[in-house]
Symmetry: C2
Subunit: 215 residues, 2 copies
């Protein structure tokens, strides 16, 4: 049984945005049991955890002689070995993996840039000028993504690891006004969240974070 | 034989930073011939190209019934099908793929954020305050990466698709003072560029961009 790491206390207070949720979701979609080791912020910066994750983050994935970090790599590792997240046809399989990379390398960076900007710039007076510029970069990507998705249920036929990753990335915008400008993308996120495997993953991370008063 | 797309006229004037170089490099490492279709900036935004690449960028990869975008997905597709870019042992193979995702989702985003910031903020007076903050974010990642690389030649034993992607990402910093603060990472980039396959990939893209006066 694989062991993953997760925050001892998630900064989002259990809203499911910590990246262990993506891995839990992939494990649930493929019907796999797993164990969780909780890691404190202090422990994440210690040599023992850095040996497992050189960037001092969660999640990690350990199973037998396999030890991985990076959500994309972990989800792909699971998807390649267990049915439920990648189509059988080789060309469709490569397209699903393409959407995983698109989520992580094309759509997520402007979203995280915008999300983190308030922490990066602090209370500098020009913060109010910067944030709309960054919203514009997010909007540009969502415009392209919604044009491709159209009225389809998923990005390329059946639900895949590509959708799992894209929905997870877009979830970060749920508290932002920008996602509301794209109703088909908001509905796409809701479809992902309605999957029973997602509900189980969410509940599992919620249980961890509800054990303690949130900050 | 696969066909990839590249800029008709690369914005970097042939320095090899356009993303087709990554794909050319992977094809060269695996000894594969390929064809190139050049695309103008205007054509990249047209429906025909958007059908192939929903975000209107290059490179794309077409071979038989396979049509892909996203450099990470293309390089992985090549690496999984041809010897030379992934180790045989399953655990080592998953680690190499982990480094591909780390390059694209953890190391590249702060580098691109810093690189693009001058274009995003234009000549607003606070630009000079923002850029050092973004340099700090790049520096934080490079500190962690150089701690992991140490004095090793490559990230995890033999050269892999993970190194190909990480070197390509770090190359974007060659004109930045930040990379010079990390001599082992600068040497790592130089080792990547010294590979004969990289030299062939670089020469091929240079030939395209040297055909015309650079802007």
């Amino acid at each position: 049984m694989p062991t993953i790491t997760a925050f001892e206390r998630s900064p989002d207070g259990g809203r499911g945005l910590a990246r262990d949720t993506r891995v839990r979701w992939a494990l649930e979609e493929t019907g796999r049991a797993y164990e969780v080791r909780l890691v404190s912020f202090a422990a994440m910066k210690q040599p023992e955890h850095l040996a497992l994750h050189p960037f001092g983050q969660i999640p990690t994935y350990e199973e037998g002689d396999v030890a991985l970090f990076e959500t994309g790599a972990i989800v792909l590792h699971i998807a390649e070995r267990h049915a439920g997240l990648l189509p059988d046809h080789p060309a469709a399989r490569s397209r699903a993996i393409t959407w995983m990379f698109a989520a992580l390398n094309t759509v997520e960076p402007p979203i995280l840039e915008r999300e983190q900007a308030p922490y990066v710039v602090g209370d500098r007076p020009w913060r109010a000028e910067l944030l709309p510029l960054l919203d514009g970069r997010v909007r540009a990507r969502l415009t392209q993504l919604s044009a491709r998705l159209g009225e389809a249920e998923w990005l390329d036929g059946a639900f895949s690891a590509g959708d799992l990753m894209m929905v997870s990335v877009l979830q970060r915008l749920k508290s932002s006004a920008v996602l509301k400008e794209f109703p088909t993308l908001a509905a796409y996120v809701a479809r992902g969240e309605a999957r029973p495997a997602y509900a189980r993953a969410f509940a599992a991370q919620w249980k961890v974070n509800a054990r303690q008063p949130s900050g």
